[in-house]
């Protein structure tokens, strides 16, 4: 068992903060970012929170408030958020070495001996200066405690300066936190705890483990141990290369037919996407390449590649196969003897791209990320059946005739990924 401490670094209002970095006119005014299809509000600046716009609210219900307060509204720009996320994560990685990218805007860091509140403040200032993204940092012995510390740091930013460590006096803090404010405790679990007479985080921490195990099972017991400083959730580290996961293989004998290439590619996509899911990541870019045998000098050579940036991150095998297949058909030429086909899933971002995927409900128990499940979970939390926050769009939908298209009418420019869309500075 490791007795070190963890930090949870969480970007503040991440999507809104990304928009703000590249558009100074957004500073000091309320900003919101919408879900896919411009349905609901999924990120709010502090100013937007202050005027009472709720998380997950359907856009049409907020029209009046938006007009009255001059709220700036954006469609989600996942290319931008993914790029900014990668920058923040690389700074954190340089700092500590061992970390888990938990979602597009959150990471757990394994802290060394000398890393305390002062170092966290310095790190926070560095991320802000280098990327323009403000973060809060919570430190604790376990993921749950780090998460709780982070929550306190964020809620009392003026006092904490965005950094807080769980130490002596933590119990006082816990007494003021309701159970459903704890990481992984949903409405259901909170209700069951209330049934046991447990309503605050402190009461939960001091609860009888046997009793908790009996009524909440092993999941509840694990949470209880985490609350008391024993790590039950370890860090899931990143794959060695964050830039992407590649899968390719040389054929035993040269291949000419498209169908055979498609079949091989499908296998590679399946392997690569499985790996991406295993690390709870989503890909924002797909590249496919073909190679003829370079060493057969007498034969015609052809080594093409093609790639595409995705409007929204995905790790679904089916979706990725569809995209990869399309790229393959684009580059495939008849009359060459191919030696190799491969796929690269790039622009990897954390899987909880919209909101935290609850660690106790799914991901750990079953590493395969079920997109539908995540989407459903988010909709349960922030929307209702009539007004889902997130629609499950996919490349597939578009491929099937194109009647249905993602609405994204208020998307900001791709400031960091398109030469034509760079931010303009007055010379």
């Amino acid at each position: 068992m490791r007795m070190g401490r963890l930090a949870l670094v969480d970007c503040n209002n991440f999507f809104c903060s990304c928009e703000r970095v590249f558009d100074p006119s957004l500073i000091g005014v309320p900003v919101v970012v919408l879900s896919n299809n411009d349905g609901c509000i999924i990120s709010r600046s502090e100013e937007a929170k202050a005027i009472g716009i709720p998380m997950g609210a359907p856009l049409h219900e907020q029209k009046e408030v938006i007009r009255k307060h001059g709220v700036r509204v954006f469609s989600s720009n996942y290319t931008l958020y993914g790029d900014m996320s990668a920058r923040v994560m690389s700074i954190l990685k340089d700092e500590v070495g061992v970390m888990e990218v938990y979602s597009i805007d959150e990471a757990f860091l394994e802290l060394g001996e000398g890393f305390g509140v002062e170092e966290a403040r310095r790190l926070r200032a560095k991320v802000l200066r280098w990327t323009g993204i403000p973060v809060c940092i919570g430190i604790g012995e376990t993921k749950m405690l780090a998460k709780l510390a982070n929550r306190h740091a964020k809620k009392n930013r003026e006092k904490t300066g965005g950094v807080f460590e769980m130490k002596e006096g933590a119990e006082e803090l816990m007494a003021g936190v309701a159970c459903d404010g704890l990481w992984g405790v949903g409405k259901n679990l909170a209700r069951r705890l209330a049934g046991l007479g447990i309503t605050t985080a402190l009461e939960f921490k001091k609860a009888d483990p046997v009793k908790i195990r009996k009524s909440l099972g092993v999941v509840g017991e694990r949470m209880l141990r985490e609350m008391n400083g024993t790590r039950c959730l370890e860090l899931e580290e990143m794959p060695p290369d964050r830039k992407g996961v590649m899968a390719s293989r040389s054929f035993g004998a040269p291949v000419e037919a498209l169908e055979e290439l498609e079949e091989a590619l499908a296998n590679h996509v399946a392997r690569a996407s499985e790996k991406v899911r295993r690390f709870s990541l989503w890909a924002m870019r797909v590249d496919v390449f073909l190679q003829t045998n370079y060493f057969r000098k007498g034969e015609p050579q052809y080594c093409p590649g093609a790639g595409v940036n995705l409007d929204q991150p995905t790790n679904g095998t089916g979706e990725l196969m569809g995209i990869a297949g399309k790229l393959l058909r684009k580059i495939y030429r008849l009359g060459y003897k191919y030696k190799k086909v491969g796929v690269m899933l790039g622009g990897l971002v954390g899987s909880g791209a919209y909101q935290p995927v609850l660690a106790f409900e799914g991901v750990r128990e079953e590493p395969r990320v079920d997109i539908d499940k995540i989407v459903d979970g988010i909709n349960r939390r922030f929307g209702d059946r009539k007004n889902p926050v997130i629609m499950r769009g996919s490349m597939g939908n578009r491929r099937l005739g194109g009647g249905w298209r993602m609405r994204s009418g208020r998307k900001s420019p791709s400031y960091t990924t398109s030469w034509r869309e760079l931010a303009v500075v007055r010379g």
């Binding site: 006119s25 690389s90 200066r129 280098w130």
Partner: protein, 107 residues
């Protein structure tokens, strides 16, 4: 094995903090910055006196020479037609990043 030269190595010292922006206007002409140029901006560099910076002022980005002398901070153009930008009481001068390189198409 030797690789071909990669311009990124030369122009991007710190990938996490480096951004590209496009210039519109001639106020920095005499400093070799022209309309249409791309600036390589490194936010990890510290703005000191005479560095060329991208700053935010009145809700816009502007590229100017940063001046910090005698406890006064202001922005200076490199073109006599443009006055210096003094920062008055209710204005806030925020330096967004320091310009590390200018990419200019030769014509």
């Amino acid at each position: 094995m030797e690789r071909s030269l990669d311009l990124n190595e030369e122009l991007i010292r710190n990938p996490a903090s480096t951004f590209f922006v496009r210039v519109k206007g001639d106020s920095m002409r005499d400093a070799g910055i022209h309309t249409g140029d791309i600036l390589v901006v490194d936010r990890s560099l510290t703005p000191t006196d005479r560095k060329i910076v991208v700053a935010m002022i009145d809700g816009e980005f502007t590229v100017k020479r940063f001046r910090a002398t005698d406890g006064k901070v202001f922005l200076e153009a490199a073109n006599e037609k443009f006055p210096r930008i003094e920062v008055s009481g209710d204005q806030e001068l925020v330096v967004w990043g320091v310009v590390a390189f200018v990419i200019h198409q030769a014509r």
